[in-house]
Amino acid sequence: MAVIEVKNLSKNYGEVEALKSISFEVNQNEIFGLIGPDGAGKSTLIRILNSLILADKGEVSVMGKDPNKQYQYIRNHIGYMPGRFSLYEDLSVKENLEFFATIFGTTIKKSYNLIKDIYQQIEPFNDRKAGALSGGMKQKLALCAALIHYPKVLFLDEPTTGVDPVSRKEFWQIIKGLHQHNITIIVSTPYMDEADLCDRVALMNEGEILRIDTPQNVANSFDKPLYALEAKEGNYKLIKALRAYSFLDSVFPFGEKLHYTDKRENDIKAELKKHLTEEGFSDISIEKIASNTEDVFIRLMNNQKQ
């Protein structure tokens, strides 16, 4: 059953088209990822779904309700964690949670079962002001606050942006753990590698959805053989040389190596190596590799621009 249904949704800010007629569905108890850079329209989309912004065009249904008219129902049954830390920094951990419990007409005690795995990690700092918490702990507190009323749908807007890898990892474990409580989760992120942690993802760029699928299918959808290249002379020289190569399809830096596609379909490893050796490169390594979400995203973005 679809918890969220969106059809031909558009939203403009003046001349800027934040969302360009997008459509998708999110299923019950799914972790649905909105993956894309700043300006892709992720936050706008989340705010339309949670009734904070009105759409210009299109149909939106959240838990079967219209965010425009039945926003009271929606607000009662969703949890929302905005992109930046939005709790009261001058209130302690406990005071913040108590406050959010009261505005939803509940108590920490009643929700303890749902939040305990997260809350236990910050409970030792109950009396510390929220402003004095580390980034990772702030995120956990904000998540507790968003969960305090047992929401059916949870919106997380870039919960891991600016958070170090350790905290990111912990945070994703927590999100995964919420699965057992039958909560549908919509999470946005600019980190392409986090796509793999979702059940399904929508790759977004400049107000459009480039692809919706399972992370596995997205990563495998790369339409060309992909090679990882490396040479002793360094990436910059290698890129320059490859850009001048007549069979080049695309090349871009990827971590320590370069990711390369060729215009020819056959295995070109030997030929390419020969060419690069002639160009004066040494210790050349060429490897055929499996593509990942980021490779696909770059590919789709290039197609989008054409």
Partner: protein, 248 residues
């Protein structure tokens, strides 16, 4: 890249009261190197960077940046470095040209130099059409590239980049890194702080700070081999959890 050391620190320390934000860090950065300066929030990255850019006096230890002492020659250091961060880079309500003039001006570029380098930069980035537009009207992806170009307009020996590419799309991010490669190729040393671990892999060498100390130091390849992992994320997690790793 050669072996000339352009940044060198020995037991560099900054204490605020009894709290040591930076605790005896020792490392060096070579000329033309892309050096990644990693660590979680609050690990001491910003404090260390402020000392290296001459904004904060160290408590003890030694350090030279571009050949100048961080205790006594802070003003000379400032003249020889460029700085760009995600938070502060350029003025949104000035046009591209005005920004170039302003930032070039504060680094003491002459009118001729400004004209020459400004025009060359605008041409290189293909921005002739938008050079009179206010920066806030320029697409997000461009801004970082422009900011980097402006930060290197006075041809500094070292450019410090503080979390430069947060939230940028993957293509723009790569274009940005190509600019960094190019600068390094021209002999500019690039010092980057980031907590994007994939970005760390673009660096020649990195150091990783945990609780004010350097807990990991070397090329991404070496670190991954040492920790027997596939990616830098895992390296970071292992270091942050305090797994044994001998310094240097």
């Amino acid at each position: 890249m050669n072996s000339e050391k352009i940044i060198e620190t020995t037991k560099l320390t900054k204490a605020f009261g009894s709290f040591k934000a930076v605790n005896e860090i020792t490392f060096d950065v070579k000329k033309g190197e892309i050096f990644g300066f990693l660590g979680a929030n609050g690990a001491g990255k910003s404090t260390a960077m402020k000392m290296l850019t001459g904004l904060l006096s160290p408590t003890s230890g030694e350090a030279t940046v571009a050949g100048f002492d961080v205790f006594t020659q802070q003003e000379k250091i400032k003249k020889n470095i460029g700085y760009m961060s995600q938070k502060f880079s350029l003025y949104d309500d000035l046009s591209l040209l005005e920004n170039i003039k302003f930032f070039g001006g504060i680094y003491g570029l002459s009118k001729e130099q400004l004209n020459e380098r400004g025009t060359a930069m605008i041409e290189r980035l293909g921005l002739a059409d938008v050079s009179h537009k206010l920066l806030k009207e320029v697409p997000l992806g461009w801004k970082q590239k422009i900011a980097f170009s402006v930060a290197t307009l006075h041809q500094p020996k070292i450019v410090f980049l503080d979390e430069p590419t947060g939230g940028v799309d993957p293509i723009t991010r790569r274009q940005f890194w190509e600019m960094i490669y190019e600068a390094a190729d021209n002999g500019t040393t690039v010092f980057v702080t980031t907590h994007y671990m994939d970005e760390a892999e673009y660096c020649n060498r990195i150091s990783m700070m945990v609780d004010g100390r350097i807990a990991g130091y070397g090329s991404p390849k070496e670190l991954k081999a040492d920790f027997k992992t596939e990616n830098m994320d895992e390296v970071f997690v292992k270091i942050a959890r305090g797994e044994n790793y001998k310094l240097q």
